[in-house]
């Protein structure tokens, strides 16, 4: 059998020799037989050749050569059709690859299907701030809580005592339970090189529960996670490569984390990224190591590990073999309820207790899914439309070609070609076109994935080209190619040869297919244009939001001296000293700092006028001297915080316009007092009122804000700070000077997040920017593809009607009239498309409502712009063929056929 295949192959590669042999053999035969002729030598050779079974391949090669030749003759149109297919396939593959990585893929751990996440569900929304009596048992929390529908909430964070309850009562359903929590930024110093890293606190069973083997050394075990244990850490594969130069060097190394010595126990495998897709921690630390690293984690160790009403830990469990998620939930609901009931102190709290819920854990935490699932579905729908438009183009191209080739096909049939052979040849052409598109599509997808990663700002997500999607998209185009290649092929080969041979070039019946295809393209392009218009308008609305401060020529960066070892005693003076040094840099017009970056700030504490009820909406910012003058926020009344407001002077505050109005109405707040309750109390005098400025982002409503000197009150509030440098000229030109100054002051303190204020604002609306850019690109793309289709159809129509137009002109029709006639064709197709697309566009814009800012979904401007863009593009596409029609020489046209 194998030998037979080899013999056939040998034949194929030496077939010329075989042919000659056969030829000689037959001539020899004829000679011996004494006949001059050997009968139909060609036919017998053909038959002998058929025996080797290569006919199919040879015909295929023939077809392919012919198809390539046909494509070359139709170069522009082929290129455009293949290109539009490539863009369609590529965009779909790239977007789906993201969907897969974010929404669909399981964690790269052992048996992800048996993992469950511990969630809870509550009917109301817990208010944690500023109530003498919290409405639920959730008195405080650190993490995310999500609203579910109208009046219920769900979250995945729990108090530490709940973790112990679950650990004790779950042995029948879980083989392990483990907890984890993000560390926030850590200062990791390796051999004197300090840099910032992200980390995860994990309970002792984390790695065993996930079933992760070490890539080097060992991973954390139960005994590492207890107060007083030796300080060990596990680092990620990528971190070990980047910072230690290899995993072998990492295991056993000594490092400083926030100035506390740790030893690296081991390295995680390369594909492991923790439990949250999109976030890859660099360092894994035992849960209880936070007692070493955080000076005031939520009110101290007692609050963290003993407080039954402080929610902060995320948990997962691994199901025992044979037990299901439902069984596990039933088994744990009771013990959890019993515990949570014991934490309620009032009737009100008892009436709405959190209920335990186990959800699938295979995909890990769902923060990224919650953030991106809707945007990704929108993008997926848009690129799906583009693929549809591209497919319609291919269909159009093939229909046009099939029509044009009716004569050719008729000739071939009449010469004795088998019908199947003609069909095969036509199919080859369409499949070749689709394949060309598919191959180019792979490149498009490959190039657009890094671009999308950048645009969507998902750094540590492992997005790989998804071959399944690739093949689905390619299959779709192949099917399009086959369908629209085959239908006309079947039709044209069924024709009566005689009329087709006689027929000039009339083939009107194919035309009825093409106008609807164009209308479909117009309708889909319209949808995409409307979406793009809405996103662009949203972005421009956001960008023109009044900031209240000057974003130009402002450099931002972050320092955390506390993590590098500065304590309460000297941290404020360290920052003050740096501020002076930065001010001395030539070209720096002003310097200040605050505990959070202004545009991304969001801290709150109960601050109120003595005697008045606490206002939950009040937010705060700890700032350095000259904050308002540096940011160029005007003072409405009084003065700003100055250098004289220090640790040893009376406590003062500046309030925002809104705060003043809300708490004092028309009265002058200067000189009035404010008190801050809680663990870092202050008793302050209001010294100034600042004009409204965008605290905490562009989209949110600006809350009432109280600004306080960072170096007054309890010093434990001072940790990391953001510096602002108002510069002359390009702010980034000062970055190196800043690094040098900080390095000289303390080499252990890394400078992070260096960027301009403009860039930082863009970061806060990165999703909107990404959407506006992507949708604009998609809209241009779809418009271009639709115009190609329109242009092709019109050119074809004009060519077909040469005769008719010639007659009209001979009878006195003017050039302008002819142009008008063709353009009326265009308009009617576009209008039909718009009519089909309008309801869809209205539905789309309604669906997009939640993405929009500062406008109604049916924004008239966006709709009008979309219509105008479509009409302009269609007329532009139609003008060239119309002009060509008007240039027809009547005499030539009449002689034409």
């Amino acid at each position: 059998m194998i030998l037979e295949v080899l013999r056939r192959l040998a034949y194929y590669f030496r077939r010329r020799q075989f042919e000659e042999d056969l030829d000689e053999e037959m001539r020899h035969h004829a000679e011996l037989a004494g006949r001059p002729q050997f009968g139909n030598i060609t036919r017998w050779k053909e038959e002998s050749r058929t025996m080797w079974g290569w006919t199919f391949v040879e015909q295929l090669m023939q077809d392919l050569r012919y198809a390539v030749r046909a494509m070359k003759n139709n170069r522009a149109f082929t290129a455009l059709a293949a290109l539009s297919l490539a863009l369609g396939i590529g965009a779909n593959t790239a977007i789906f690859s993201f969907m897969d990585a974010i929404l669909l893929r399981s964690l790269p751990v052992n048996d992800p299907e048996s993992l469950v996440m511990v969630n809870w569900h509550i009917r109301g929304t817990p208010y944690t701030r500023g109530r003498a009596e919290p409405n639920t048992v959730v008195y405080g929390m650190s993490g995310s809580i999500y609203e579910e529908g109208e009046a219920s909430s769900t979250a995945a964070i729990l108090p530490y005592p709940a973790f112990e309850v679950l650990r004790k009562s779950s042995s029948s359903v879980f083989s392990s339970v483990f907890a984890f929590r993000k560390t926030g930024r850590l200062n990791v110093s390796i051999k004197g090189q300090a840099d910032v890293a992200g980390g995860e606190y994990v309970s002792g069973d984390y790695f065993r529960g996930l079933g992760i083997p070490p890539a080097a050394g060992r991973l954390l075990i139960g005994d590492d996670d207890r107060p007083g244990a030796t300080a060990v850490a596990v680092v990620s594969f990528a971190f070990a490569q980047a910072r230690f130069g290899g995993i072998a060097n990492a295991a056993g190394a000594s490092i400083l984390i926030n100035n506390v010595p740790f030893s690296v126990a081991g390295v995680t495998p390369p594909e492991f990224f923790g439990t949250l897709p999109g976030e890859a921690p660099d360092v894994y630390l035992p849960m209880h190591a936070n007692l070493l690293l955080e000076d005031y984690p939520f009110g101290g160790p007692a609050a963290m590990y003993l407080d039954q009403n402080f929610y902060w830990l995320e948990m997962m469990g691994r199901l025992q073999p044979g037990s299901s998620r439902v069984q596990a939930q039933a088994a744990l609901a009771g013990p959890f309820h019993q515990w949570v009931e014991s934490t309620a102190k009032t009737e009100h709290q008892r009436a709405d207790l959190p209920e335990l819920r186990l959800v699938e854990g295979a995909g890990g935490l769902d923060a990224l899914r919650r953030q991106f699932s809707r945007p990704l579905y929108v993008l997926m729908a848009l690129v799906g439309f583009i693929l549809a438009i591209a497919c319609a183009n291919v269909a159009n191209l093939l229909l046009a070609r099939a029509t044009a080739r009716r004569r050719e096909i008729a000739v071939r049939l009449s010469m004795g070609s088998a019908r199947s052979r003609v069909i095969r040849q036509l199919l080859t052409e369409s499949v070749l076109l689709a394949s060309l598109g598919g191959i180019l599509g792979v490149f498009v997808a490959k190039w657009s994935i890094p671009f999308l990663t950048l645009l969507l700002e998902i750094d540590s997500l492992n997005v790989s080209l998804d071959w399944r999607v690739m093949s689905v998209a390619a299959g779709l185009t192949l099917a399009t190619g086959a369908l629209f290649g085959l239908a006309p092929a079947l039709q044209s080969t069924r024709l009566d040869v005689m009329p087709a041979l006689k027929e000039a070039r009339e083939a009107g019946h194919k035309r009825r297919w093409r106008a609807p295809l164009i209308a479909l393209q117009v309708a889909l392009s319209f949808l995409i244009l409307v979406a793009a218009g809405l996103f662009v308008r949203t972005l421009s609305n956001l960008q023109s939001v009044e900031l209240g401060f000057n974003r130009e020529n402002l450099l931002l960066f972050r320092l955390n001296a506390r993590q590098a070892g500065h304590g309460d005693a000297d941290i404020a003076s360290f920052y003050t000293d740096l501020q002076k040094q930065f001010s001395a840099v030539p070209g720096v017009r002003g310097v200040s700092l605050s505990h959070e970056a202004f545009i991304a700030a969001g801290s709150s504490q109960v601050i109120n006028v003595p005697g008045a009820p606490p206002d939950l909406s009040t937010h705060l910012l700890y700032i350095g001297p000259a904050f308002f003058s540096t940011m160029q926020i005007p003072m409405l009344l009084g003065r700003e915080i100055e250098e004289r407001d220090g640790p040893n002077s009376p406590e003062v505050a500046v309030v925002s316009e809104k705060f003043a109005k809300k708490n004092f109405g028309d009265e002058n707040p200067i000189g009035r007092r404010l008190v801050m309750a809680g663990r870092t109390p202050r008793d302050m005098e209001i010294v100034g009122v600042a004009k409204e400025a965008r605290y905490g982002g562009l989209r949110r409503e600006v809350p009432p804000v109280v600004y306080m000197p960072y170096n007054q009150g309890a010093q434990r509030i001072v940790a990391g700070v953001t510096y602002y440098l108002r510069t002359a000229g390009d702010p980034l030109a000062y970055a190196n000077t800043v690094r040098q100054i900080v390095h000289r002051a303390d080499a252990r303190v890394p400078v992070t997040s260096i960027k301009t204020q403009t860039a930082q604002i863009d970061d806060t609306i990165s999703q909107e920017i990404a959407f506006a850019k992507l949708c604009t690109a998609f809209a241009i793309l779809s418009l271009a593809i639709a115009c190609i289709g329109l242009y092709g159809t019109l050119s074809y129509n004009v060519a077909r009607r040469t005769n008719e137009i010639g007659i009209r002109m001979a009878l006195g029709a003017q050039r302008g009239g002819v142009i008008g006639m063709i353009l009326r064709d265009v308009l009617s197709m576009v209008l039909i498309g718009l009519a089909i697309g309008l309801p869809g566009a209205l539905a789309t814009s309604k669906f997009l409502g939640s993405f929009l800012y500062g406008m109604k979904p049916n924004d008239p401007l966006a709709l009008t712009a979309a219509v105008a863009a479509l009409l302009a593009a269609a007329l532009a596409a139609g003008y060239a063929p119309a002009r060509r029609a008007s240039r027809i020489d009547p005499m030539a046209a009449l002689r034409h056929e």
């Binding site: 056969l22 050997f38 002998s48 079974g53």
Partner: protein
């Protein structure tokens, strides 16, 4: 036009194999001639079926071909039997006997 007798379907391979087995390496014309002579002109092998059959048998590996000098001093392709061809011949002969026996039983006068 002389009358021709069609070679019964499926027996051409057997006839060629048997011929080559009996007279040794032979070219196409020789094979055709031999079959015609031995069958006393009853069986005629047309070139149109001979050469495709020879090609087919080369693929199957029943025959191999070598170029040699022929009796008229021309280069000719001589086909010779392989062990696989010999095995095939035995199988075809057995099958032929079986079928002929069966046909004989059917047409025997009662």
């Amino acid at each position: 036009m002389e009358e021709r007798t069609e070679i019964p379907p499926g027996t051409l391979y057997m006839l060629i194999l048997k011929t080559v087995a009996r007279i040794g390496p032979m070219h196409g014309y020789g094979i055709a001639q031999y079959i015609q002579q031995i069958s006393e002109d009853v069986l005629r092998v047309e070139e149109g079926s001979l050469y495709p059959a020879l090609q087919r048998m080369l693929i199957k590996g029943w025959l191999v071909a070598d170029w040699k000098q022929s009796e008229n001093n021309r280069r000719a392709r001589f086909y010779r039997l392989t062990p696989a061809g010999r095995k095939q011949l035995v199988a075809e002969l057995a099958e032929f006997d079986r079928v002929m026996g069966a046909i004989g039983k059917v047409i025997q006068p009662a």
